[in-house]
Symmetry: C2
Subunit: 229 residues, 2 copies
């Protein structure tokens, strides 16, 4: 189970909140297929709610870039393209580099110790079964660095916008790579740099880490020809 999300308000007080969460998962998992049209009356019926809170939820999904809306026409689930995936990777390369730099400057010793614990846990899970690490564990690590930056706006951007998109692509493209051992080593290097409060190095390592991941993904897409740009 994803550890970093435990501080999410489990009991979302408003209907729009709960429906929004459910829709996020439904879209990420492909239950609502990418590119498909969203019918407000149908969905409202399915959830047993009115169209009011549903539209509120759709607004947030639009802000998360999970759906696209056109006035007087309706909402569609976003379509996945290779180009868009690359764009997100480039943005991550840039922003998470900044996050790592600020994390090196602002993370407390306690925060860093928890990072160590997480890494150790990941190492054990890799020995047993790589699937968790690939699916959620990697996200946990990256999100924790972002939180460690203490840059509230940066944290917001990831929580609301990028996080679900990354999950979406990872889930639906179902990437499983041989990079896991290598990625784990890189995570360790990044934590080391943070521990030494070497922001410049942490930034460099994080950017390169994500760049490597992007290049790997691009190569995989080329081979599998899964997506034609």
């Amino acid at each position: 189970m994803s550890e970093l999300l435990e501080n999410e308000p489990v009991i979302a007080s408003t209907i729009a909140d709960t429906v929004c969460s459910k829709l996020q998962n439904a879209i990420v998992e492909g239950i609502i297929p990418a590119g498909s049209k969203i019918s407000e009356p149908a969905l409202a019926n399915e959830f047993g709610i009115s169209r009011g809170p549903l539209r509120e939820a759709l607004s947030r999904l639009e802000a998360s870039n999970l759906i696209e809306r056109k006035p007087n026409v309706g909402a569609r689930v976003v379509t996945l393209t290779r180009q868009h995936l690359v764009e997100i990777y480039l943005i991550r390369e840039s922003l998470e580099g900044l996050a790592a730099r600020q994390a090196a400057e602002n993370m407390s010793d306690k925060d860093i110790n928890e990072l160590d614990v997480l890494l150790e846990k990941h190492q054990q899970q890799i020995k047993q079964d790589q699937s968790y690490y690939q699916k959620e564990g990697d996200m946990d690590f990256h999100f924790r660095i972002i939180k460690g930056s203490k840059n509230s706006h940066l944290i917001d951007m990831f929580s609301n916008d990028l996080y679900h998109l990354i999950r979406l692509y990872r889930y639906q493209f179902g990437m499983v790579s041989k990079r896991v051992p290598r990625a784990f080593v890189e995570h360790g290097q990044i934590v080391d740099a943070i521990r030494q409060h070497d922001g410049e190095l942490a930034q460099f390592l994080m950017s390169r880490h994500i760049r490597s991941s992007r290049i790997n993904v691009e190569k995989m897409l080329d081979e599998h020809l899964a997506i034609t740009d």
Copy 2:
């Protein structure tokens, strides 16, 4: 008048759209003061509309980080803090660096020529009256680079999220600096790098440009003691 916004849909078809635009401007210009509470019935009355589209507009303002909403409590205009301003500058330093790099790779000759025209226009306006350049012209330049990156997600992030926040801080902190001539020179350097399709250099120059701007702003805030963190 701001040139880069001319392709914005002037006739927003839905009420929520027009109200959202009006509220954006009202918040940026301080007509609705920072930190003030927003009453849905009052605002709806003022605009002569129902609460439905108003809430839709508020949802978008929340996504733009112009207001904050708490369930069952209501919406408040965001409060301006020095820390948040610095956070945004750091994000810009990172993202606009990426934008400049991609702009150097992806801008057409026609795009670059238009950049030249814009710069020349700015130069003339600086000689006459610096105010335009400081308020909107600078934003025009930066936004054009971002669009030049052809990174649609990056463009979205700025259009929906960062653009109005930047305007808000600039408007309400009313920064007027002696950096205008220097900033203009730096803009020229960036365009040169883009013209030579030197992405690495463009990224470096843009990041440094924004960093200088941030340091200048921080210094001004320290001197004026306008904002206490």
